[in-house]
């Protein structure tokens, strides 16, 4: 038997063998470490905000600091944690294994992407300490404010630009890989649904990210040269910026959720020991989300002053894009029917995902309806919605995948009881923290406020207490995972008795993934 990729001979010794590697598994782990570190930064900022918001009045940080904190919190969570989170880390590690490839199509571009990502992240973080002070625009960088403020926007925006390039290259790489490097017999309909979701995500990355790139470039150009595209005094149009920003950023929310949907689709059959229900409908709905999701950006601008006709059209399209998500939810539930179910930690996280994502998605309908949007836009209702879909959805899916593929990556098992205990805390804390925000939002509390009227005190307090419960859950979960890296039980090659290709090699896999490229004869969920 070959040695695992951890022990394979590398071109450079030690740490250099990691940061200059071209092995997709090592790159996946590099991304994993990087994005979880950024996540730690992001949650610390989130906790800081909640502390400030515990009661009305100013407590631990000033208004200007608060503005910098939520800006960085948003930028870090979106661009440095959740967008690269699943596709670049789990996708990099697992997807080539699942299609029976030895690596991605362009291994060198793969490590280049990681470097671009890290440099971009470094720029974003450096912008805090240099120039005119920490950026204070919110993650949306709306003009004209982002052009007028004296803080260090250019560097932060440039950082995000690099991260965007990294994301585009990864999308290009994965698309080529899936088209070209499938093992013999691996037809499109024999691919796992995780790979399908990565495929759909890569398309979104390819279609949407260039628009972000040009939008961000225009901010920088505007700040340095004042060409006037967004400045009404020179004939420019701030609403044009909003369009360009959301043409990317709405599809970006599907870059976050579609891979998470893929993760849970792979987990359900394994723990219910039967085939997935409606394979082709789930695969097709990923693609439908990817493409229809491209056309609904205007729902972030229902009060922006754009024409009423445009608002009506965007509202209609928004409702259309909700249907494929529903199809997925129904198929997941049907896949439990007549199974033989073991509720292990990955499945528990998956069930949590379905519940929390449904709440997030259904409240998306409230925002997508025109009459209600006029009330909830710009309030904590929105904040609650996107934490439900991004944290309750995408990040829960990420954690589910982390538990599921943990033995694949490290050859060891985490402590099952502790994992479940952490889940309970996460679930309870999560709902305390964010459900309160729906109430606040409907009562009219605006977002991005460092201070609020005393009448919003109650739910804010519950929310802050919830953040501590959630924090406890997160700490236990990560303690369990990190501790198990060294102290976990040996997992064996296939602890879940899964049938997809990544489990048919050793855990952790050898440098070249498979001793012999496998010949594929069945679908990925073959249990009975």
């Amino acid at each position: 038997m070959e040695a695992s990729f951890y022990h394979a001979k590398t071109r450079y010794p030690g740490i250099l063998g990691w940061i200059f590697t071209t092995d997709h598994k090592r790159i996946g782990l590099l991304y994993l470490i990087a994005s979880l570190s950024f996540f730690a930064v992001g949650v610390s900022l989130g906790l800081t905000m909640r502390l400030e918001l515990i009661r009305s009045g100013m407590h631990i940080i000033s208004a200007q600091t608060y503005n910098a904190v939520f800006t960085l919190h948003g930028v870090v969570m979106i661009f440095l944690f959740i967008i690269p989170g699943i596709p670049s880390s789990l996708g990099n590690f697992v997807m080539p294994l699942q299609i029976g490839a030895r690596d991605v199509a362009f291994p060198k571009i793969n490590i280049l992407s990681w470097w671009l990502f890290m440099i971009g992240g470094a720029c974003a973080v450096t912008s805090l300490f240099t120039g005119g002070g920490a950026p204070d625009t919110g993650w949306t960088f709306y003009v004209p404010y982002s052009i007028r403020t004296g803080t260090n926007i250019s560097l932060a925006v440039f950082g995000v630009f690099l991260i965007g390039m990294s994301s585009t290259l990864t999308g290009m790489n994965f698309l080529t890989t899936i088209h070209r490097l499938r093992a013999p017999g691996m037809t499109w309909k024999r691919m796992t649904l995780f790979t399908w979701s990565i495929y759909a995500t890569s398309w979104i990355q390819l279609l949407a990210t260039p628009v972000l790139a040009i939008t961000l470039l225009l901010i920088i150009i505007e700040r340095f040269f004042g060409v006037g595209f967004f400045d009404p005094a020179k004939g420019g149009d701030p609403i044009l910026f909003e369009h360009m920003f959301w043409i990317y950023s709405h599809p970006a929310v599907y870059i976050m959720i579609v891979p998470a949907m893929g993760v849970v689709t792979d987990i359900i059959p394994v723990f219910s020991r039967r085939n997935i229900f409606g394979y082709s409908f789930i695969a097709a709905s990923s693609l439908a989300i990817a493409f229809v999701g491209y056309l609904v950006w205007g729902h972030h601008m229902f009060t922006s002053g754009m024409s009423d006709t445009a608002r009506v059209i965007f509202s209609l399209l928004t409702f259309i894009v909700a249907v494929p998500s529903g199809i997925k939810v129904f198929n997941w539930i049907a896949s439990l029917y007549k199974g033989s179910i073991t509720v292990a930690a990955p499945l528990l996280f998956t069930l949590g995902f379905i519940f929390l994502f449904s709440i997030g998605g259904l409240t998306g309908l409230v925002q997508g309806a025109l009459a209600t949007n006029l009330h909830v836009h710009g309030t904590y209702f929105i904040v609650a919605h996107f934490h439900y879909v991004m944290f309750g959805g995408a990040a829960m899916g990420f954690f589910a995948g982390l538990h599921y593929w943990f033995p694949k990556m490290f050859g060891r098992l985490y402590e099952e009881h502790l994992a479940k205990f952490a889940w309970v805390l996460l679930f309870v804390g999560f709902n305390m923290l964010y459900f309160s925000m729906f109430v606040l939002g409907w009562e009219g509390m605006p977002r991005r406020y460092y201070d609020y009227l005393p009448r919003f005190n109650g739910p804010n307090l519950i929310s802050t207490i919830g953040s501590w419960v959630l924090a406890a859950g997160l700490i236990i979960m990560f303690y369990n995972l990190v501790h198990s890296l060294v102290a976990g039980r040996e997992a064996g090659d296939n602890p879940w008795k899964a049938s997809s290709l990544e489990w048919q090699t050793t855990s952790p896999p050898p440098a070249e993934n498979f001793e012999k490229v496998p010949e594929v004869t069945t679908g990925p969920y073959h249990f009975v």
Binding site: S62, Q64, N67, G132, G133, G138, Y142, P144, Y145, R148, G150, T151, D237, P238, R273, R274, N275, F277, G278, Y279, S280, T303, S304, G305, R311, V312, S315, F319, I320, V323, G326, I327, V329, F330, A334, L336, Y337, K338, S340, I341, T342, L351, I354, F355, S358, I359, L362, L365, V366, A369, L370, A371, L374, H375, H377, G378, G444, P446, Y449, F527
Partner: protein, 319 residues
């Protein structure tokens, strides 16, 4: 003071309850079935799984039903929206200007205030614009908001039907004073409104006049004008006149003081004289006073030269 919601038959609420009903039904059904399956088909109770691959009629059902439901939601939302966007022809028009970080309401007869005063039972149409960056005018009680966009006029309307004082928030992030850019909608009976509207009370009466007013009785009319400008233009959102620094430096004793300023990245000293203040108001980034964040909005196009002079006149009195 009433801060509750006077207008519960609002289409926003109707739409909300409609969506809530559908959502809760789905959420309860989905979660219920999910939990039932997990228990009923647990390994203990159901040792051997059975294969159920797919079922096209079922897929069609759960595609078509949600599609119909979301289209219904769309329709309800759209209908309410049309109502919420179409102001009745007899609405009273008030022009609103948002700026960092205050609101100004201009009435047809030239009255200008910082608090939106309206009579009961009369539809109010607001024509909104911004003097600097994006803002958004939000009145939770009337479930209505619309952005204030520089260089453009947007609109909204509402029907105040109960007396009281309601919150008005800024809901588009606009810088450090965003959370303080709040004011009130005062709904008063028609005759009180008329009295106020016809009254000679100058605009400035509506806003708290800087305290120093009383202490410096011998002040020119020009300085008085400056004092009033400080509050209508929102300067007092960040600066005080009593000596305590807030987001920006205090105005007390500012005039003629030597300040450490950051000019093109280097620290120098400057005296806050007429020329300095004039320049600072128009090009704030050019010389930033040390120890304060670089967030002062430029007053270009907001203050005329004459107004700036009036403000300086007033600052001179704040010893």
């Amino acid at each position: 003071m009433v801060t509750g919601w006077p207008n519960l038959s609002n289409p926003a609420d109707e739409t909300f309850y409609f969506i809530l009903g559908i959502s809760l039904t789905f959420l309860a059904l989905n979660t219920g079935v999910m939990i039932y399956f997990v228990i009923r088909y647990s390994k203990k109770r159901h040792a051997r799984a059975e294969e159920v691959r797919e079922n096209t009629p079922l897929e069609i059902i759960w595609t078509v039903i949600p599609t119909i439901l979301v289209l219904a939601i769309f329709y309800v939302g759209w209908k309410g929206f049309v109502y919420m966007r179409t102001a009745p022809a007899d609405a009273m028009v008030v022009r609103v200007t948002a700026r960092q970080w205050s609101w100004t309401f201009d009435y047809a007869n030239g009255k200008e205030t910082n608090v939106l005063k309206v009579p009961i039972g009369k539809p109010i149409k607001l024509l909104i614009t911004s003097a600097d960056v994006l803002h958004s005018l939000f009145i939770p009680a009337y479930r209505i908001k619309e952005d204030a966009v520089p260089g453009r006029e947007t609109h909204l309307w509402f029907l105040p039907n109960e007396p009281g004082s309601y919150d008005l928030f800024c809901t588009e992030y606009c810088g450090v004073g965003h959370a303080d850019m709040t004011t009130k909608v005062e709904v008063v009976p028609q005759k009180d409104f008329d009295a106020w509207y016809a009254g000679a009370a100058p605009a400035q009466k509506e806003t708290p006049v800087p305290e120093a007013h009383e202490r410096a009785p011998k002040r020119s009319a020009r300085a008085d004008e400056g004092a009033a400008l400080l509050s209508t233009k929102g300067c007092l959102g960040c600066h005080t006149v009593d000596g305590t620094p807030k987001i920006g430096p205090t105005f007390k004793g500012l005039f003629g003081k030597k300040e450490a300023v950051i000019h093109e990245g280097k620290e120098t000293a400057a005296v806050a004289d007429e020329a300095f203040i004039h320049h600072k108001l128009l090009e704030p980034e050019d010389a930033r006073i040390k120890g304060f964040p670089p967030i002062m909005p430029s007053q270009k196009g907001v203050l005329t030269d004459a107004e700036i002079d009036a403000i300086i006149e007033y600052l001179k009195t704040l010893k």
